[in-house]
C-alpha cells in the first residue's frame, strides 16, 4: 500500500512530471489538429444550413464547446486545488494555476461568440438572461482566482489562498447554474427551435462533439505547456532544474 502511494507521489513530483509533460504535449497538439480539422470540416461543409437561423447558427460549433470547457475546467481546477490543500503536494497548486487562464479564456470565448450570435438572432448583443449571466459570473470567478494568486508573492501562500477561493467558488457554480429555474430564459428557447429537424441535429451534434474534443485536447496541451513554465519558475533553485538539458546547453 505504502509502495503504491510512493509510486503515485513520484509522478506528482514536479521533477518527474516536467519531462513527462514535455513528452505528452506534441501528442495533444496533434490530436487538437486532427479533431479541429474534422470538426471544422463538418461545421462548414457537412452540416446543412439551418432552416430558422440560416448560416448564422454555425457559431454553435465553437460556442458550445467553449461554454462546456469553461465550466469543466473550473471543476478540474478546483479539484486540483483541493487536492493540493489536502495532501500538500506541490504539483497540484501548479496545475490549478496553469488551468485558470485557459478556463478564463474559454469563458471569454463563450461570452464573445454568444454575443456575436445573439445580435443576429435576438437582435441584441446581450440580455440579462440566466445562462448568460451565470457564464459572466464564472468569468469573474476565474478573474478573481487569477488576481488573488497574482497579488500574493509567496507561491505556497498563493496556492493555498487560491485553493480556498476555488473551493468556495465551486459551491457557487451549481447554484448559479440552477438559477436558470428562477428566470425566464431567452437562451434555451432559441436552442430548442434550432434542433427541429432530426437529421440536421445528427450532423450538428457530431460536429459539436468533435469540436468539443478538439477544445479538450487544446486545453490539455496548453495547460501542460503553462505548467512546465510554472514548474521551472518555482523550482528555480533546485538541483534538478540546473541539471536539465535545456538549461545546460
Amino acid at each position: 500500500m505504502s509502495n503504491r502511494i510512493i509510486h503515485w507521489f513520484k509522478f506528482a513530483s514536479p521533477q518527474s512530471f516536467y519531462p513527462l509533460a514535455g513528452k505528452m504535449i506534441p501528442w495533444f497538439w496533434a490530436l487538437t489538429a486532427v479533431f479541429g480539422a474534422i470538426g471544422l470540416w463538418i461545421s462548414f461543409f457537412v452540416a446543412p444550413t439551418d432552416a430558422v437561423q440560416g448560416e448564422g447558427y454555425r457559431i454553435i460549433f465553437i460556442h458550445v464547446p467553449a461554454s462546456w470547457m469553461s465550466m469543466f475546467i473550473y471543476m478540474v481546477m478546483a479539484a486540483w486545488a483541493g487536492l493540493g490543500l489536502a495532501l500538500n503536494t506541490r504539483l497540484s497548486g501548479m496545475m490549478a494555476q496553469a488551468l485558470a487562464p485557459t478556463g478564463a479564456l474559454m469563458a471569454f470565448i463563450s461570452l464573445w461568440t454568444g454575443a456575436f450570435w445573439g445580435k443576429p438572432m435576438w437582435g441584441t448583443w446581450w440580455v440579462w438572461d440566466a445562462r448568460l449571466t451565470s457564464e459572466l459570473i464564472l468569468f469573474f470567478l476565474y478573474i478573481g482566482f487569477i488576481a488573488l494568486q497574482a497579488a500574493i508573492d509567496d507561491p505556497r501562500r498563493a496556492d493555498k489562498a487560491g485553493a480556498i477561493l476555488a473551493l468556495v467558488g465551486v459551491v457557487n457554480v451549481p447554484i448559479i447554474y440552477f438559477s436558470v429555474k428562477w428566470w425566464n430564459t431567452l437562451h434555451q428557447g432559441a436552442s430548442v427551435s434550432m434542433m427541429k429537424s432530426p437529421s440536421m441535429a445528427q450532423t450538428m451534434l457530431w460536429g459539436m462533439l468533435i469540436m468539443a474534443l478538439c477544445f479538450w485536447m487544446y486545453s490539455i496541451a496548453v495547460a501542460l505547456m503553462r505548467v512546465r513554465a510554472i514548474i521551472l519558475e518555482r523550482e528555480t533553485h533546485t538541483e534538478w532544474v540546473k541539471e536539465l538539458p535545456e538549461v545546460k546547453q
Binding site: I62, L105, F116, P120, A229, T236, Q249
Partner: protein, 60 residues
C-alpha cells in the same frame, strides 16, 4: 456541399460579420495563448541559463 463559390462561403449567407467575428477571435485566442505560454517558458529558461553561466564563472 453547401457552397457554390468561395465568395458565397465567405459571405456566410449574410452572417459574415457574426460567424467570422466569432471564429476569428476564437482562432486568435487559440493561437496567442500557446504562444504566450511558450514565451513564458523561454523567458524562464533564458534566466536559468544565465544564472548557470554566472555560477560557472563564479567557480572559475
Amino acid at each position: 456541399m453547401n457552397w457554390n463559390s468561395p465568395a458565397e462561403f465567405f459571405a456566410m449567407g449574410g452572417y459574415a460579420l457574426y460567424v467570422w467575428g466569432s471564429f476569428v477571435v476564437c482562432a486568435v485566442i487559440m493561437v496567442m495563448e500557446p504562444m504566450l505560454a511558450k514565451m513564458r517558458q523561454k523567458t524562464i529558461l533564458r534566466a536559468l541559463h544565465r544564472e548557470r553561466l554566472a555560477q560557472e564563472l563564479d567557480k572559475q
